[in-house]
């Protein structure tokens, strides 16, 4: 595909968007897994388990 003399600006703009959104999605997925793991750890130790004991 021929993008003309300003191709570097076009590809850079798309590159910034792809990298930033990939980082954002990665951060959200990692954060979700971390919170889920923390809940499982607390419940496995029986701490804060009043809810599960009820």
């Amino acid at each position: 595909m021929e993008l003309g003399p300003h191709a570097v600006y076009i590809w850079s703009a798309y590159g910034v968007v792809v990298v930033t959104l990939a980082a954002l999605i990665g951060w959200l997925v990692a954060d979700g897994r971390r919170q889920q793991r923390l809940i499982e750890e607390i419940e496995a130790r029986g701490l804060g388990g009043t809810r599960s004991r009820r």
Partner: protein, 255 residues
């Protein structure tokens, strides 16, 4: 109206929200990927170069949706803040907190892609123009909301103060909207305007598909961020219960 009220009442229970969002999320990811993929195909293979800007118009397909979302997300934060302060909706603060980093990200993308579009078109990456400057202020506002919340330990107080700041900050949105009419280098509105869009249909359709795709992507990101925040609050609650139980046990006299 009644349906909306019933939905917001049902979603006031975080467990209902978690169940509903778990079902919605996979669909949002798939629809967003499909729309963005189709939009990119239309943008690169189905739309002509602009008669003035040539192929650099391709940047429009990511710049304009990011700019729209930067304002849409701020509107969502302001509405959520209103919901927290007036109706004390349990998920309102979760929504406002989750949306702030997403809004900052899309505002950064609007500025970065705009800057990369500006260099070949205006001859400079940056100029202290009313539109660019007001969007930069919006980015600082998002960062301010995040910083204010994280600087206050009392979560309820942090939520209220952040909500007040976000409602005050909504004044930036009309400034951004009308700034292109104030001796700005930025081109005037060509899609969201009174009357028909001034942009040709061959460029408008890929833009529309990309904007829709990015909006669905934001919906997925927001649902995911809200789920994370609910889990984070659950962790804190469980730790509080654990600490209280431990304190109760230590106060019981030994038999």
């Amino acid at each position: 109206m009644l349906v909306m009220q019933s939905l917001t009442q049902r979603l006031a229970n975080p467990s209902n929200f978690m169940a509903l969002s778990a079902r919605l999320l996979p669909w949002c990811w798939v629809v967003a990927a499909g729309l963005i993929g189709s939009g990119l195909y239309l943008a690169f293979f189905g739309s002509p170069p602009d008669y003035q800007q040539g192929q650099t118009v391709k940047i429009m397909y990511i710049h304009v949706p990011a700019a729209w979302l930067s304002m849409l997300i701020y509107t969502l934060i302001a509405l959520s803040s209103f919901g927290l302060l007036v109706f004390r909706h349990p998920l309102a603060d979760v929504s406002a907190k989750a949306a702030a980093p997403l809004g900052a990200t899309f505002t950064f993308l609007a500025l970065a892609t705009g800057s990369l579009w500006g260099k070949p078109m205006w001859g400079t990456f940056w100029v202290w123009d009313p539109r660019l400057t007001s969007v930069l202020i919006l980015l600082f506002l998002y960062l301010g909301l995040i910083a204010l919340r994280s600087s206050i330990e009392d979560e309820a107080l942090a939520a209220k103060l952040t909500a007040v700041l976000s409602l005050v900050g909504i004044a930036i949105l009309p400034v951004i909207k009308f700034s292109v009419e104030w001796n700005s280098l930025h081109q005037p509105a060509s899609v969201m305007r009174l009357g028909a869009p001034t942009i040709h249909a061959s460029l408008l359709w890929p833009l529309f598909v990309m904007a829709l795709g990015m909006t669905v992507l934001f919906t997925a990101l927001q649902l995911k961020a809200m789920r994370n925040e609910i889990l984070r609050r659950r962790v804190k609650a469980l730790r509080r219960i654990a600490a209280t139980s431990a304190a109760d046990l230590s106060q019981q006299p030994a038999e």
